[in-house]
């Protein structure tokens, strides 16, 4: 009969136990999960079961993670995502969440750039931890991404992006994500990048402060290859702060737009 072992189909004899398959496939596994529930070695397996064998504390190899993502996302999707290079300009509330979503998706290379340090006020929405306070955000985020998938290549640039360095740092990307906080910086980046690389897609964020309806956050196409995620109008202001839910909605609009672009789909 056929069962799935760590997301790969395997032929086993009909009366196999979990322990017998473990001994053959991964003898050092100490956590045994069948169809989502922890189990014991003497449990009998049935056709179509999903068996997961884990050794606690062991990091899967690059090949094993690749196989997992291929099984999850289908081979065609994984192959395209894996060869992509995505730039993220600014790793605050938007950029840190976009980076994590793309690393989990299996994007092969990320170029992240920001001059900022992790501050306590960031923790209400940005993907950092108390033990990372004071660290440059790009290095803290690189560490977090390595815990999610150590085989994603991350180039961390701890610097201020300017019209003078943006085209050099992001020249090799397939898609650039604008994830700055300040409106004038957003405009500067979009102008600089689209003038130099008019054919490369750019996914920007504008309007995600407060706790207005999540459904007012949208992905729109602007001119050329520029896509805008947000409600377009709600600026961060006193009384209208940036909060994890809505910033997260906008960030994941951006991440999904990137994924759709990589797969040849229209993000809108």
């Amino acid at each position: 009969m056929k069962i799935s072992v760590n997301e790969q189909l395997q032929d086993v004899t009909p009366t196999s136990t979990v322990g017998a398959v473990r001994d053959r496939v991964k003898p050092d596994a100490d956590v045994l999960i069948v169809n989502g529930f922890p189990t014991e070695p003497d449990q009998l397996l049935t056709e179509g079961d999903q068996l997961v064998l884990i050794r606690r504390g062991e990091v899967p190899s690059a090949e094993e993670l690749d196989a997992l993502l291929t099984a999850r996302h289908t081979p065609g999707v994984h192959a395209r995502v894996k060869q992509a290079t995505i730039g993220i300009a600014g790793v605050g509330g938007l950029g840190s969440a976009v980076a994590i979503a793309l690393a989990r998706t299996g994007v092969g290379s990320l170029i992240i750039a920001d001059f900022d340090l992790v501050e306590p006020s960031n923790l209400n929405r940005q993907q950092y931890f108390l033990d990372q306070l004071g660290l440059p955000k790009v290095y803290a985020l690189r560490d977090t991404l390595a815990r999610i998938n150590p085989h994603v290549h991350v180039a961390a640039c701890h610097l201020r992006l300017t019209p003078g360095n943006i085209t050099e740092i992001f020249g090799a990307v397939d898609v650039l994500v604008e994830a700055f906080d300040r409106a004038d910086q957003k405009a500067m980046l979009v102008e600089t990048f689209t003038v130099r690389f008019p054919d490369k897609p750019l996914v920007a964020g504008s309007g995600m402060a407060g706790f207005g309806p999540a459904n007012s956050v949208q992905t729109r196409r602007s001119f050329g290859n520029l896509y805008l995620c947000g409600d377009g109008t709600t600026a961060a202001a006193p009384g209208v702060g940036l909060m994890a839910p809505r910033v997260g909605v906008a960030a994941h609009h951006q991440a999904n737009a990137v994924l759709r672009l990589l797969l040849g789909e229209d993000p809108v």
Binding site: G92, D184, K186, A187, V190, S206, L226, A236, V247
Partner: protein, 73 residues
């Protein structure tokens, strides 16, 4: 430009808009009350660098896309 009329027609973000003949991009942004530092302007499919906003004179029939960013991220 219509004769005897001191205005010209533009299309901004898909909508017909009238402005004074001879206006620069900066004049137009002032008219629309948009901060020139927070916008990206595409004129007839070309991005206009912001240092040229004050000198680039618009022409009747121009098509503009103006992206106005708001803060937060």
């Amino acid at each position: 430009m219509t004769e005897g009329n001191n205005n010209m027609q533009l299309t901004i973000n898909g909508k017909p808009t009238e402005t004074t003949a001879g206006s620069t991009i900066q004049n137009l942004l002032d008219q629309l009350r948009l901060d020139c530092r927070q916008v990206v302007v595409e004129r007839n499919r070309d991005i206009v660098p912001r240092q040229r906003f004050g000198e680039e004179v618009l022409a009747d029939g121009d098509t503009l896309e103006i992206v106005h960013f708001v803060g937060g991220g």
